[in-house]
Structure formats: C-alpha cells, structure tokens
Symmetry: C2
Subunit: 137 residues, 2 copies
DNA sequence: TGTAATCCCTACTAAATTGATAGGATTAAT
DNA sequence: ATTAATCCTATCAATTTAGTAGGGATTACA
C-alpha cells in the first residue's frame, strides 16, 4: 500500500505543477485545497526540497516551487524520495540492494525471480511518467 | 515492501511444488529447509489452506499439499491471499475497491491515474506467472 | 524598525501493522 | 496408548506510519 506521505506528496507536487503563477505556492494553500494536515505536509515538502525536487523561498510571500520543469521530473525520482525503494524486496533493488540473510542463492530463489519482473514493469511506468503527465487534466 | 509473510508463503509454496513425492510435506521440514520460524509458517500455511490454495492432512505423517497443479496456481490468487490487494491504493483496486475520503473526483486525481498504470503492469506479471514458473530451477 | 507571514527543525506521541511466540486442542498412524 | 502432525486462539514486542507540538529563522512590507 502507498503511504499517506507518498500520496500527499504526489498530490502536492501536482498542485504546484498546475499552479500557473510565478509565485511560490504556500503550504497552507496546498493543505487546505488538498485536505492534508498542514504540519504533516510541511515535513513532506521539506523532504522533497532536501532531495532537490522542490525549491523554497522563506518569509512572507514565500513558499515552494518546482526546481525543474514538470516534464523533467520523473516519477522514478519522486517515488524513491517519498516511498523509498521501488523494488518489493531489497535483493532486487537497483538503488538499495541488499542480500537476503536466508537466501543462499538468488538465482534459484523463486521470490527473487518474480519480484524482478514486478520491479521491471513498475520501473517502466515510473520512467515513462513525469509530473507533467500527472498534472494534465 | 513485501511482507515476510508473503515471502515465506511463496517460498513454502515453491518448496511444496518442487517436492516430487506423493506424501504431504510437513511444516517442520519446510521451516528447517527455508529457515522460517516454524510457528509463523504454520499460521501462513493455515491461511493458504483456508483460502483453498493448499490442502492438508492431519495427524502422523500429515502435512500440506497443493490443491491443484502448480501450473494452475496463479500468482494473482496467491498474492491476494498473502499480501492483500495488488493495487497500491484502494481506489484503483479491482477486488478491494474503496473510494478515497479526500478525493472528490477520481478522474482528475493524479495519484489515481498513476496507480492504475502500476496496477495494470503488476497484474500482467501476476496473471502470467504460476507456481510452476516459480518452481523451475 | 516592528510585525506578520512563511519556511525550517527537532522532538515527541498515538495508532496500526508486522513478525512473531505460547500453549494447548484435535486428529490420525502405529 | 503413544507419538506426531495440523489446528486454533490469544498474546506480545518491535517497527512503521501518521500526525502533533513548539518554537527558530528568515523575509516582505508598513
């Protein structure tokens, strides 16, 4: 299941992408419009900023804005920041690989085989989708 | 991330499918061979039996065996029993659909759009994979 | 220069889920 | 009977998730 964090994060990014204005978008505005607890959203946007997807401006009339064009923001990056590894098991993760304690031979592991396929198909979607796609009405 | 329950369950099913003998396979044997806590495995196999994927024989020389041929056991069914819904959000789940509280219009929801694609690609894998595929060396 | 608005940061907490464990009841083979 | 297996219920500890609290730092603007 997708975490609320990821769900809220995606919604917030979409909201920012859709907002035409040059001004940064405020947390309070997004929280209200998307029905997200404001303090929780704050921490999510902070993560997105630290990971380089968002930038921010402090102080009055401050807020968040996209660091790049929506069409340049890939779901692979967004999902890895918000949800963590895309693979369902560490032993098939490209970016967060870890060997299983129990599994003596990955090549013979049925779980490994299956999850590689799932990973590849999910990756295909995320690599082919940008924030611009999400923001289309 | 895949739960241990699912991982153990898949490994156990594979083990049973690979065991050529006519005799049912005992929990203790699987637990030892696959390094799974026995009591935990018991509860997992019980779930698989209740869902109709496994059958069992009680008492001495009892154990578990597949209810159908490995090639007839689809990953869609196994995963739904072990891991729950295949979709990452209830609002795109085929078998466990639920509307989101917050989302006024699913057609306009960016999360919904994205997760439908992920679901479809994951389903494609699970529909095309049976226990026989997992059991091949 | 003061004040309000905004992001930034750390720490904490409640609820849910996960990954087991415990202890016995039931069933069947010998 | 004895032994070996599944079956069943309850409980528990650890982890993760979702959210809250409280204030600090920065900026715009009157």
């Amino acid at each position: 299941m997708l975490s609320k964090k990821t769900k809220y994060g995606l919604k917030a990014l979409t909201y920012i992408a859709r907002s035409e204005a040059d001004n940064p978008v405020q947390v309070s505005e997004i929280a209200k419009s998307e029905q997200i607890p404001q303090k929780f959203l704050e921490s999510i946007l902070l993560t997105l900023r630290k990971s380089g997807i968002l930038s921010s401006k402090k102080g009055k009339h401050g807020g968040y804005y996209l660091r790049s064009e929506p069409s340049e923001i890939k779901m692979t990056d967004v999902m890895r920041v918000l949800e963590g590894p895309i693979a369902m098991v560490p032993c098939v993760s490209l970016n967060f690989y870890e060997k299983c304690d129990d599994c003596p031979d990955e090549d013979k592991c049925s779980v490994n085989k299956l999850m590689i396929q799932v990973r590849d198909n999910t990756l295909k979607v995320f690599r082919n989708t940008t924030l611009a796609d999400l923001s289309e009405v």
